[in-house]
């Protein structure tokens, strides 16, 4: 620290022999300075966080809340529990609700156990932090309650301000009324009380431990555990209520009730799948005998689990929203059909470009062009290139080789059915429609340049000496690529895979532009289905529920991707 204040203080220390007082002063000065810096930092962060918070973080809570409302074409609907989810995925809702709660509780317990282990290793007290931690966690839950109780009141304000009553004074009055609502106030007081209690307890605990010279702070596992257990309880209650509703309905119509068996079977199927994965991956650390045994067990669990799922899932899917399920399937096709080709093409081009050749900048610039060009424009070109008229470019080329014209973007038939016309595949096995394949081609065309550029940057990070050494050892170009380039490029590959998976599941714009009525919705991926539910059908609550389900899928994919990559990625 060479700043002015501390130099000043050092001189003070030298001049006045009273070292203790000077040190005291310096620490107070440092504290003041730190406080001022923190306040300035918060001021710097404020505008950005107001915007990010309002339009980036708050929407998650808001969407989760909206998804429990019946709202059709209205801003404030009536509470409908998990009804929207049941309409979308039927029985899977209960499976998701129950296992989601189980996972939350497990995460909470794991967090606490890890904190405990860390504290034990550092020989510091742990359990005492539970008091402030639980209080602060409870304050988070109270705050959530407050937000959810305030939302409908706030959303109703514009309706009460119509016409001549649309004045700032009227707004302030209504806002005051909303804030003073007894239910909302209760939650607000709960929040503040828990927050104050938590802060007071935290300060007390910190002081007590300071005096004993122990500095570790283990509050955060308790905070998150409390919040997660609270959310898990909420999820369980909502799932249970929804089940009760279904049971009552089934009794009223005296229909047979197979919800329970379905829930149990589907859950068992997923658990067995997870078990088999776990057995299989733990087999690789064992001796050969044990590993064979574990692998056999894993295979058996996989078979039984898969059989249960294959037997039960179609019924659940059939009872859900077919448009949504087909949207997920189309998203999956789109993801599988674009990511591998674009990564392979980009890798080949990047490796070729990364040589001592002329025109590197030129090629790089040209490859990148499709990525930056406005896609409404480029998609319009693709619409013409892949038009169904026999004179259109692609059909003309096909005709030149004596092949029949295709309908391309207007063709809802699955490509397996097109390739093997004699076999009549059902919808789910027919593969992506020809229209979706054209959209995949557009996707690959748009993104391969971006991937090439990122691969080039990754290649630039590999030390040249490795290649020189390998060349001296007589390694050819392919062994060099296989044993130096690929392993050292794995972080880039991992990043691009994750980025593309998330990107394809979020993809909306070009798919929306390229969709045609004649393709009968076979090109509607999950995002398009959500957009249509909101914009065309104005089913606000339902669209929110679908969006939350999409988010769940993306989270699961990210976790799986991380797990798989953790073992393979080589950070050299």
């Amino acid at each position: 620290m060479t700043n002015a204040v501390s130099t000043d203080v050092t001189q003070n220390v030298k001049q006045t022999a009273s070292v203790g007082r000077a040190v005291h002063r310096s620490s107070r000065g440092a504290r003041n300075r730190r406080l001022r810096e923190a306040l300035l930092a918060y001021a710097f962060l404020l505008p950005a966080f107001v915007i990010v918070g309002l339009f980036g973080l708050f929407p998650l809570i808001f969407a989760a809340y909206q998804s429990t409302l019946r709202g059709i074409n209205r801003i404030v609907g009536t509470f409908d529990g998990l009804g929207n989810y049941v309409r979308a995925v039927d029985v899977l809702t209960y499976v998701l609700g129950f296992w989601g709660a189980v996972i939350l509780i497990w995460l909470a317990l794991r967090g606490i156990r890890r904190g405990q282990q860390a504290a034990a290793a550092a020989q510091e007290p742990f359990a005492i932090w539970s008091a402030p931690g639980v209080a602060l966690g409870a304050s988070l839950l109270f705050a959530l309650t407050w937000i959810i109780r305030m939302l409908p009141l706030l959303l109703a304000i514009p309706d009460q301000m119509r016409g001549a009553r649309n004045t700032p004074e009227e707004f302030r009055r209504l806002l005051g009324e909303a804030l003073a609502d007894p239910n909302a106030l209760q939650a607000l007081f709960g929040t503040l009380a828990a927050l104050t209690l938590g802060i007071v307890l935290a300060v007390l605990v910190q002081r007590a431990l300071d005096r004993r010279g122990q500095r570790g702070n283990y509050m955060s596992p308790f905070v998150s555990a409390t919040a997660m257990i609270g959310l898990a309880a909420l999820l369980l209650v909502m799932t249970w209520n929804e089940l009760q509703k279904q049971i009552a309905e089934a009794e009223a119509t005296s229909a047979g009730l197979d919800i329970w068996s379905q829930i149990v079977m589907i859950s068992a199927g997923f658990v067995l799948m997870a078990l088999s994965w776990w057995l299989w991956s733990s087999a690789s650390h064992r001796s050969s005998n044990a590993s064979t045994f574990l692998r056999l067990g894993g295979a058996a669990a996989l078979l039984v689990g898969a059989w249960l799922l294959i037997a039960e899932l179609p019924r659940a899917i059939g009872a859900g929203d077919p448009v949504w399920w087909y949207g997920l399937l189309a998203t999956f096709y789109y993801s599988m059909g674009t990511i591998p080709p674009q990564l392979i093409v980009a890798l080949v081009l990047a490796v070729l470009l990364f040589q001592d050749i002329k025109g590197r900048t030129f090629f790089r610039m040209v490859y990148f062009l499709p990525y930056i060009a406005p896609f409404v424009g480029t998609a319009a070109v693709f619409k013409i290139i892949f038009s169904s008229r026999p004179e259109a470019p692609v059909n003309a080329i096909l005709g030149f080789f004596g092949l029949p014209s295709q309908l391309w973007l207007n063709d809802p038939r699955g490509i397996f059915n097109l390739l093997i016309p004699s076999a009549d595949f059902p919808v789910w096995a027919a593969g992506p429609s020809l229209a979706l394949v054209v959209i995949m081609i557009f996707g690959v065309w748009t993104f391969f340049g971006f991937n090439t550029v990122v691969f080039l940057a990754g290649l630039g990070n590999i030390p040249r000496e490795l290649y020189d050494a390998a060349a001296i050892d007589g390694a050819g170009r392919w062994p060099q690529f296989r044993h130096i380039t690929l392993p050292l490029l794995s972080p880039t590959l991992y990043f691009l895979t994750l980025y593309s998976v998330i990107g394809t599941f979020k993809a909306f714009n070009h798919i929306y532009v390229l969709r045609t009525g004649a393709a009968l919705g076979t090109t509607d991926t999950a995002s398009v289905v959500i957009f249509q539910a909101f914009k065309r059908d104005t089913r606000i609550g339902y669209a929110s529920a679908l969006a939350i389900l999409l988010l769940l899928v993306i989270i699961v994919l990210t976790i799986v991707n991380n797990r798989v990559a953790a073992k393979r990625v080589h950070y050299g």
């Binding site: 950005a48 909306f508 909101f534 929110s544």
Partner: protein, 278 residues
Amino acid sequence: MRRAPLRYLGTYLILALGAAVAIVPFLYTISVSLMNLTEATGGAWLPSTPQWSNYARAWNEANFSLYAWNSVRIVAITITGEVVFCTLAAYAFARMEFWGKNLLFSLLLATLMLPEAVTWVPNFITVAWLGRIGPVPWINNWPALTIPFMASAFAIFLLRQFFMQVPNDLWDSAQIDGAGHVRYLLQIVLPLSRAAVMTLILFGFIGSWNALAWPILVTTTPDWRPISYGLLAFLDEAGAIFNLQMAGAVITMLPIVVLYFFTQRTFIEGISTTGLKG
């Protein structure tokens, strides 16, 4: 170590093929945009005589003067806000100490994972609400199209990476000269990070120019409809008049492509450095 020319030939062939695939759709766009209607629908590859008047017709029929002006206004407002707000936040994350820094930063990064689809419904309702209670309407007006994009996790992250590379010695000497955080940011950090700010501006420009889903949701009249949505509306209205459609596409793409040609080095470097550190 020079390799045999034949080997280079193979390399060049593949690279050229890739370049052709990337660029042919653009050339075809220009070609069709200059055809007359018979050629455009008849599957010709090149126009017999270039019809430059197509551009004027598309410009007038699609009302591009309004849409282009809208997009320019939207881009200008968004980028101004974004540069100011994100610079401040990025500086706080890069150079200042405060309680909750890691928590706030991970909250910020968490927003990157949220799909756009989750935010459509809530943000539409929020924006409608703010417009109904505030002094200016938000729907069909500039606030809905610009304010939500004035701060993004990506922009803050990008600037933070650059700010962190400014050597610490500069901060020390600035402090000795009596400069506080504000002066240090304005007079030293920002000028040194010009490349980062340029990248941010380019990304902001392209993002606003290409935006589609959100403008469809929040504009019901052409008053503030940006150019991409304008082109989409024109494509639907123009039917099968391919030559005019393509002229419209060229008009929409031209500003971005020109901007890209002049700044591609900064832009590509911005992508490669920030992309990988994520």
